[in-house]
């Protein structure tokens, strides 16, 4: 996984709560067997006025001019700000792949659904949970002329021209992003412990190891 570096970007804001993963990436795109190329279909139902399918040339589909990411002031945004309970619903990791493929590196909300939150850290996407008042301040920045925001994960700071916000993240998750840690390699270092556990359990509850 690539390492998360400090960066500066504008932020795009969508005023909507409970954005579910079906909305982030609709079902028909889950038929893909790779992790790439979902960005074109991020928020597909909101973004296009015509239906689409995997394999279509999406540049030919009629776009919804009202769609928030088509607002010129959000062009190139790497930070997404959204309402409460972002990423609820389906466990589809495609939602994270779509956000990242589109170009987002950070999502900011008051809260995230558990499975989505977990999926973010497996891919290098940083979800930041803030209080509503802090989010309100950032929303003001997105609408101003001085709209650049710096995300500094090492120091856990969101920096804007006029203020900074400290954010919380647990130490392990932070390390995973900054170092680009592969969890599987880390876990496999404990292979002996896993085998010991299996041996002990096979004596205690052998039926769990039947097949």
């Amino acid at each position: 996984m690539r390492k998360f570096k400090t960066f500066e970007s504008i932020a795009a804001y969508i005023d909507r709560k409970n954005i579910d993963t079906d909305a982030i990436i609709p079902k028909q795109y889950l038929k893909a067997v790779t992790r790439e190329g979902f960005g074109e279909n991020l928020f597909d139902d909101w973004r296009y006025l015509e239906p689409g399918n995997l394999g279509d040339d999406h540049s030919l589909r009629k776009k919804n001019p009202e769609f928030f990411l088509y607002n010129p002031k959000y062009r190139g945004a790497k930070i997404l700000i959204a309402g409460d309970n972002f990423g609820c619903g389906s466990s589809r990791e495609h939602a994270v792949w779509a956000l990242m493929d589109y170009g987002f590196d950070v999502v900011i909300s008051t809260s995230f659904a558990d499975i989505f939150y977990n999926n973010c850290f497996k891919n290098g996407l940083l979800p930041i949970a803030l209080h509503q008042q802090q989010i309100n301040k950032l929303i003001k920045v997105t609408g101003s002329n001085e709209n650049l925001i710096t995300i500094d994960l090492s120091n856990q700071i969101i920096q804007t021209k006029n203020f900074e916000i400290k954010f919380n993240i647990d130490a392990r998750r932070k390390e995973v992003l900054i170092e680009g840690i592969d969890d599987i390699s880390e876990t496999l270092k404990l292979s002996d412990k896993i085998k010991d556990y299996e041996n002990k359990k096979a004596l205690k509850t052998p039926w769990m190891f039947n097949s």
């Binding site: 909305a23 139902d45 466990s91 558990d114 130490a171």
Partner: protein, 466 residues
């Protein structure tokens, strides 16, 4: 003193890291075609092996056709995905129930039906409705594709322990109020993020009185309340449910296992971080009217009043939902006319669900305004059982289509979907925008309420038509 969740956690705990994370052992890994191909590919690219092949059960369900199955999968893109599952399972010699196998069905129906997952196990699947299996006191939760790969490679997951929540359900459930209604009632009270960060244990006499299948429906919907895990303690119903299942332990081993299972309950006085009590004795069947499972009302109630103080903070969401759903505030539930009926999904496609539907639709006809009413059994074995009981004849005579098993119109990855603006009474689990098809309008209900709606062409209070 431990909660059931604490016990399951401790029993599978391998290692504590000093950063608050633990390594947890996974006993069963359920796999379907949509969330696994990238995991198998990742494993291959990294040159890693599957840790425990016998922990895995695979079945195609999301993409599969539910009619004219003998012609195979028409959609070439769906076919690639189902073929990929086939190839990955064959190459690795994994247990898989093919489309032609009578045991094929929705992964969360097949797992318990086969006794592949058992009480006390940790069970994962790249599917959020894995919470279903908490009904057997298994610590079961959905994971993303990276974690599917992690479990394939290590048989473990890195986890932070959740908090404990107890939802104690008291009172006798009224007639025609089912565990689906209970789930919708709970979600409407605590919200779709109410359970975030928690493992929920359902307790109380109302829960004890539920059948195993009804418990699965409730635990299945736990994810719609934001909790990845919903648990119910083992009792004699659990043990007799497991007894005789094809992959369950037999004879002496079953006895030994049963002793172990009987301890799978929260100790008296165990600490819950949050407790909610619900009395269901006066509850009515529920329907969702909006675009989130929490937007639900009792069938004898009206849709929300936007001026109601309780909705001030949510007003924008409600306005949005009314607009998407083509409904108005304060509308009567029975004024909502329907286009399609879907009875199926991992929430409500088991034999008891189908029996309830048959009871209601017997000798009645699907209303003329209903363009299609489909019943999709949860597995080939459910289908077979229903046919032995003659339920299929009742359904067909009433005007329902009787399909082959799969996820079907719950999420419309196959051909079963709603067209734009079509309105459906659905026994599935999500009413999100576009869930059953672009611009589709979904109302989540119990099988009984869906059946009654099919006959009348609009929502009715099922208690009034019996």
């Amino acid at each position: 003193m431990k909660t059931l969740y604490d016990k399951l956690w401790d029993e599978h705990h391998i290692h504590s890291f000093d950063n608050g994370y633990s390594l947890i052992y996974i006993d069963r890994h359920l796999i379907h075609e949509v969330t696994s191909p990238q995991a198998f590919e990742g494993l291959k690219q990294a040159g890693r092996n599957i840790w425990s092949k016998k922990s895995i059960m695979a079945v195609p369900d999301h993409n599969v056709p539910t009619k004219m199955r003998e012609n195979g999968i028409k959609d070439p893109i769906s076919k690639i995905q189902v073929d990929a599952l086939d190839k990955n399972c064959k190459n690795n010699n994994l247990l898989k129930f093919d489309l032609e196998d009578i045991r094929q069905g929705i992964v969360h129906v097949v797992g318990p039906e086969q006794g592949i997952l058992l009480p006390g196990m940790t069970v994962v699947c790249g599917d959020s409705h894995t919470s279903t299996h908490g009904a057997l006191a298994a610590l079961a939760f959905g994971i993303g594709t990276s974690e599917v790969e992690h479990v394939l490679a290590t048989q473990c997951l890195l986890q932070k322990k959740s908090q404990n929540m107890n939802i104690n359900v008291v009172g006798e459930m009224p007639n025609y109020f089912y565990s689906k209604d209970l789930a919708l009632l709970i979600i409407s009270k605590i919200g779709t993020a109410g359970g975030t960060g928690f493992a929920i244990e359902y307790t109380g006499n109302a829960i004890r009185n539920l059948s195993m299948e009804a418990r699965m429906t409730l635990c299945n919907m736990t994810i719609e309340a934001g909790a990845t895990t919903g648990l119910i303690a083992v009792d004699e119903k659990t043990i007799s449910y497991v007894n005789g299942k094809p992959y369950a332990p037999k004879e002496e081993e079953f006895k030994k296992a049963s002793e172990y299972w009987r301890d799978l309950k929260s100790d008296e006085g165990a600490h819950f971080d949050k407790t909610i009590e619900i009395d269901v004795s006066k509850s009515s069947p529920m329907i969702t009217w909006g675009t989130s499972p929490e937007m639900a009302v009792a069938v004898d109630d009206k849709l929300p009043d936007l001026d109601d103080e309780r909705f001030i903070s949510k007003r924008d969401d409600l306005v949005n939902a009314f607009s998407y759903m083509g409904l108005k505030e304060k509308q009567n539930v029975n004024s909502i006319e329907l286009d399609k009926i879907f009875i199926g999904s991992c929430t409500n496609s088991r034999i008891e669900d189908l029996r309830v539907v048959a009871d209601i639709v017997k000798n009645k006809k699907v209303a003329k305004n209903i363009k299609s009413a489909i019943i999709v059994p949860g597995s080939g074995l459910v289908k077979e059982k229903a046919e032995k009981e003659g339920l299929d004849k009742i359904f067909k005579k009433s005007g329902f289509e009787w399909r082959s098993p799969g996820c079907s119109m719950c999420l419309g990855m196959n051909d079963d979907k709603l067209s734009e603006y079509e309105r459906c009474a659905s026994t599935s689990n999500r009413n999100f925008e576009g869930r059953q098809g672009r611009l589709s309008r979904t109302h989540l209900v119990s099988p009984a309420t869906a059946a009654a709606a099919a006959i009348h062409g609009h929502f009715v209070d099922v208690r009034e038509i019996i």
